[in-house]
């Protein structure tokens, strides 16, 4: 909450604003002091909170797993190794069931997606005011106006984060398509489906229609992947914020929603992983 008792709208807007760092046309290089300023910074700005939390959580995940991987024994596994092996086997099985090609990348990619997204989603369960308040206190200590210190804790409620990941997956889809089918095969797939004619002249006429349909199909993949995760988490976060505004009753409600949300965050991480595997296996399979 900001210093001078914000209205509900201001409170919600404050919570949904990222800490944006960039070059403002008037104020120069620095943090945005409002949503307006963040907007004016345009594309060449960066969300420090999203980047910080996502990279921190990614490093946490890799550090944890790397620690286990280094000391992995073939004997009877103990606590943490058990957990890591369980995750690895779970992901490995999911990949094996869906992806039939041979690739050294898919399984670790899926593991990273699942664990990383799960950890980022998990930040949603930290009470919504807790970390932003802390950030405001620290900001105030550095002499900033607390009302203008924005801090969004859950990276997956930032569409940049989810779209960034899905675009990376999209790049992999294209890479795998071209690697498996060749560049011409990839183009053929885009233009010679779903309408097909034996007459070359008719086929030439059908190419634009095919290309339109296939391009939409192809582009829908990363967009839906990103927006599904973003939408679910954004909505969940919004409900947490709304619950946080109703006073004493927020405690049981928060608990109930957190319990339910636990299901959503796991499911969304799993869906992102599964769809990535499915898209990549579609990219490698010939029709």
């Amino acid at each position: 909450m900001a210093g001078n008792n914000p209205t509900s709208t201001e409170y919600i807007q404050h919570h949904l604003q990222n800490m944006t760092f960039g070059l403002h046309p008037e104020h120069g290089l620095g943090l945005a002091h409002s949503a307006q300023e963040a907007q004016e910074m345009g594309f060449w700005a960066i969300h420090l909170d999203t980047m910080g939390w996502s990279i921190g959580l990614g490093i946490l995940f890799l550090w944890l797993f790397r620690m286990v991987a280094k000391s992995a024994t073939t004997g009877v596994p103990s606590g943490l190794q058990n957990f890591v092996e369980m995750m690895v086997e779970f992901v490995d099985n999911s990949v094996r069931e869906t992806f039939h090609g041979k690739s050294k990348l898919i399984a670790p990619l899926s593991l990273t997606i699942f664990c990383w997204i799960f950890l980022m989603n998990l930040m949603d369960l930290v009470p919504v005011d807790f970390l932003p308040m802390l950030a405001q206190k620290i900001g105030a200590w550095f002499g900033a106006d607390p009302a203008h210190v924005y801090f969004k804790v859950v990276p997956t409620t930032d569409v940049n984060a989810t779209l960034g990941m899905s675009l990376a997956v999209f790049a992999l889809i294209i890479f795998y398509s071209i690697r498996e089918k060749g560049f011409s095969g990839f183009i053929a797939e885009l233009t010679l489906h779903p309408f097909n004619a034996s007459n070359p002249f008719v086929q030439a006429l059908l190419i634009p229609a095919n290309f339109l349909l296939e391009a939409v199909t192809l582009l829908a993949k990363p967009v839906s992947l990103a927006l599904r995760l973003f939408g679910n988490l954004y909505a969940g976060e919004l409900i947490f914020i709304l619950i946080a505004m109703i006073g004493l009753w927020q405690l049981p409600l928060h608990f109930a929603w957190a319990t339910f949300h636990l299901l959503i965050i796991t499911l969304q991480a799993f869906i992102f992983m599964m769809l990535t595997i499915v898209y990549l296996s579609m990219a490698t399979e010939k029709h």
Partner: protein, 156 residues
């Protein structure tokens, strides 16, 4: 909620994480899992082999036991036979010995009897002569009558 550089930053971070995971996390864990799998498979194999060995050994032991039992029975039977034979032999020996002893005793008795007869004979002769002497009041020619009495004694 505006798209900005975070998008690219996130994509790069994602790529780096995936690369790290692929390079340093996945292979050792997978290797450990596979090695353990192999170990377990080997262990199960060894266990089944050991079970089979045990069964075989048990079978062998039972067979050996049966064999030795048979052998023992055979030995006992032989011993019995031998004992019977020995008893039989001993009995035969004893009988022969007995017979021999009886025979020799009989011979001795005969001899004794013979000697007793001889002695008796001489004594009878002497007594007869003494009697006769008393009767005839010693006037008889001893040499003459002696022959007669001896003849008599021989007829006895």
């Amino acid at each position: 909620m505006n798209l900005n550089l975070t998008l690219i930053g996130q994509a790069i971070a994602f790529a780096v994480f995936v690369w790290f995971c692929m390079k340093f996390v996945w292979p050792p864990v997978m290797q450990a899992l596979q090695e353990r799998q192999k170990k377990i498979a080997d262990g199960l194999d060894a266990a089944s082999r050991a079970t089979r060995d045990l069964e075989l050994a048990q079978e062998q032991a039972a067979e050996q036991l049966k064999e030795s039992k048979e052998q023992a029975a055979q030995i006992i039977e032989q011993a019995h036979k031998r004992a019977n034979q020995m008893i039989e032999e001993a009995r035969d020996n004893a009988r022969l010995e007995g017979e021999r002893m009886i025979e020799s005793a009989r011979g001795e008795i005969e001899q004794e009897t013979q000697r007793a007869k001889e002695e008796l004979r001489t004594q009878v002769a002497t007594l007869a002569i003494q009697g006769a002497e008393r009767i005839l009041d010693s006037s008889i020619d001893e040499a003459k009558h002696r022959e007669l009495v001896d003849k008599l004694a021989a007829e006895l």
